[in-house]
């Protein structure tokens, strides 16, 4: 081996070496659920959504109706009739001997229900139970769940801190007992605890006491009528401490269903003014020719600030506000016209001789007039608009492309300049040919995008827009529209 080349040999040996590893297990431990390889098209997705909507609505309606009035955080008074009905159902279903037990009757915080279940399913006991219920004001937040026979709890939100303290203490016990009782087993009836959350005299000490009681008074009524403390498993015995190491759920950054971006577009345009006649009179034809020959486009540009809502499929909708300006130049070439006329004026009378004028009389004097007509003015049309567009973009590594199209609604227009009218340059406001709004224009663009590391992107692409509305008032017999072609440069900044 050559001296000093050990690293090369090691590199060669290990560069492609694959250690034995349970890739399947590793994949599972990542916590990413496997999904079918079918790639749903957007259409299929919508169909699934349509199917899911009634299911979700139905579930929500069911949950709402089933929980209505029972566990809404307020103290509930169970109606006597419903209590009787529930307990009757209970006793019929159980159909076993269950001794009645008074639970937590001594606890001032716990309003125990004197549950006198129908032992031996005898009608007399059942009647006695009904009497108990009927004669007792059931002002308790308890609701007896006929399926699981577990008394659930409800709390008054007005004392939430205290209740939370209680709940934290009792939570473990509740969970454990839930483990030990089969919800479908109707042979057990358990009352965990009930709270009078509206009791304003709850003190911290009693809170502690109540939590102790909740833990201590877990009892189960067995089929043979005996009462025993529940065998509450310890944390270790149920293996809570031996759970696998928590697996972090993967965060697929940038893959939210909807993303919101701030887009800034700067678009220099070449604005092509399109004039056409409505009234094809000779006068208008001449005017149109004069305008075409004297009005030249200069620079035009548009700056848009847009919010963009984008789906993972690449479709997006964007809207915002934009400022645009179209500059033009009116250029009427300077023309000289010479005219001669005789006008009345002073005529100097020179007596031939020494050449000294010696008299002045009023008479006809020939006057030559040279007239220079011409103009060069810079005009502008300024607009504020609300652009809305739909688009699609697709990303391929750092690069991507986009295509979008939409409309812009003009909300403000300002114009200043001159135009040739009646063979002379006149101010826009003096002529009064223009409307106060440029209306709606359509625009579309497609181009390339480059994505930076932080999801910010820069886009460049041609942009075309067409002003649909006639800028001139119809009584002037002429339409003026604009077709602008430009280069859009956009910066997209992800906001959320």
């Amino acid at each position: 081996m050559e001296h000093g080349k050990i690293e090369n040999h090691i590199e060669n040996k290990l560069s492609n070496y694959e250690s034995p590893v349970d890739a399947e297990g590793l994949w599972n431990s990542l916590g990413i659920e496997d999904t079918p390889t079918t790639h749903f098209s957007p259409g299929n997705k919508y169909r699934i959504y349509l199917l899911l909507v009634p299911i979700i609505l139905g579930s929500a309606l069911y949950l709402f109706t089933s929980s209505n009035g029972s566990n809404d955080g307020s103290e509930n008074t169970i109606s006597k009739e419903s209590a009787i009905r529930q307990i009757s159902i209970e006793s019929q279903t159980v159909n076993q001997k269950i001794e009645s037990k008074e639970v937590d009757s001594e606890n001032p915080l716990v309003e125990g229900i004197e549950l006198d279940f129908a032992s031996n399913s005898s009608s007399s006991d059942l009647e006695r139970l009904k009497e108990n219920v009927q004669t007792k004001e059931l002002n308790t937040p308890n609701r007896i769940d006929s399926k699981t026979n577990i008394t659930t709890q409800s709390f008054n939100g007005s004392d939430s801190k205290k209740i939370n303290a209680i709940f934290k203490n009792s939570n473990t016990a509740v969970n454990r007992n839930s483990n030990s009782i089969d919800g479908s087993n109707h042979s057990k009836t358990q009352v965990l605890a009930s709270y009078d959350a509206t009791n304003s005299e709850i003190q911290q000490s009693t809170v502690s006491k109540s939590s102790t009681l909740i833990s201590d008074n877990k009892r189960e009524l067995l089929l043979d009528g005996s009462l025993s403390n529940l065998d509450v498993p310890s944390m270790n015995s149920i293996g809570l401490m031996n759970f696998p190491r928590p697996v972090r759920c993967p965060d697929f950054g940038g893959r939210k269903p909807l993303r919101f971006n701030l887009d800034i577009h700067a678009i220099p345009y070449y604005s092509n003014q399109l004039l056409s006649l409505i009234d094809e009179s000779e006068l208008n034809k001449t005017w149109l020719e004069q305008r075409n020959s004297t009005e030249k486009p200069l620079e035009a540009f548009q700056v848009n600030v847009l919010g963009r809502l984008q789906t993972n499929s690449g479709l997006y909708v964007q809207g915002g506000i934009g400022y645009g300006q179209i500059d033009q130049k009116l250029s009427v070439p300077i023309q000289e016209t010479t005219s001669t006329s005789n006008e009345q004026g002073p005529v100097i009378v020179i007596i031939y001789g020494n050449g000294i004028p010696n008299d002045t009389i009023i008479g006809e004097v020939p006057v030559t007039t040279i007239e220079r007509k011409g103009a060069e003015t810079y005009n502008y049309h300024r607009m504020i608009e609300i652009p809305i567009a739909l688009g699609y973009e697709r990303r391929m590594n750092d690069w991507g492309f986009y295509i979008d199209g939409g409309a812009s609604l003009n909300i403000w227009t300002s114009r200043k300049g001159y135009m040739l009218k009646d063979n002379k340059p006149q101010k826009y406001e003096d002529v009064g040919v223009f409307t106060t709004s440029t209306g709606i224009k359509l625009n579309g663009s497609l181009g390339m995008k480059y994505y930076f590391n932080n999801d910010m992107s820069l886009s460049v692409g041609p942009d075309i827009r067409y002003h649909m509305q006639n800028w001139m008032k119809p009584q002037f017999g002429m339409t003026q529209k604009h077709l602008d072609i430009g280069l859009r440069v956009g910066l997209s900044i992800p906001l959320m």
Binding site: K13, S15, F252, N312
Partner: protein, 183 residues
């Protein structure tokens, strides 16, 4: 699934592509993780966290900047380093102390990759980290210095020391190896 399809799918966040990536590259990336971690379990942990980072930051991967394999190996190496960072500064070595040895010709060739990994993992961690980063991941000394929060000179010295130790350990595996110290 081909690499191009995996890349495309992962960019789109498709789980089947992510699974294919895990299935295809776990062996190689496990080797990377094992070079930095003391045992297989912690290497697996580092690899697992590395995958989560890979998926999270997949949009930053650019084929122009390099192959997917090396991009992922750097992420896994970084993840492993983060877990072991506290041990890094515990060693430093002076260049003067380095000795140069010759390694028997067939010693490395006769080593199985697993044995070679054991040899590498047997040298002190500061040397091993620099060796792995410089030789196997392709980092520069300046980058290593920033990554490990050590001086550039320390990185160079640790690399020299790592090579020396590796030669020594490898040559020890060769029955008839020569061991010469060159001044």
């Amino acid at each position: 699934m081909k690499e191009a399809q995996i890349i495309k799918g992962c960019l789109e966040g498709r789980k089947e592509a992510q699974k294919a990536l895990v299935m295809s590259y776990s062996g190689y990336l496990m080797t990377v993780a094992r070079r930095y971690m003391p045992d297989n379990e912690s290497a697996k942990d580092a690899l697992q966290d590395g995958y989560l980072k890979i998926f999270k930051n997949f949009h930053q991967f650019s084929q122009k900047k390099g192959a997917l394999k090396s991009w992922m190996s750097r992420i896994v190496a970084n993840e492993a380093l983060n877990k072991r960072r506290k041990f890094i500064d515990s060693y430093a070595v002076n260049d003067q102390e380095a000795i140069i040895v010759e390694v028997a010709p067939k010693a490395i060739d006769q080593l199985h990759e697993e044995d070679l990994l054991k040899v590498i993992n047997g040298i002190p961690e500061p040397y091993r980290l620099v060796f792995n980063l410089y030789i196997l991941e392709g980092y520069k000394h300046k980058e290593i210095a920033e990554l490990l929060n050590i001086k550039e000179s320390t990185s160079r010295a640790n690399l020299t020391r790592a090579k020396t130790l590796l030669r020594k350990r490898i040559i020890e595996l060769e029955p008839n190896a020569r061991w010469n110290t060159v001044k």
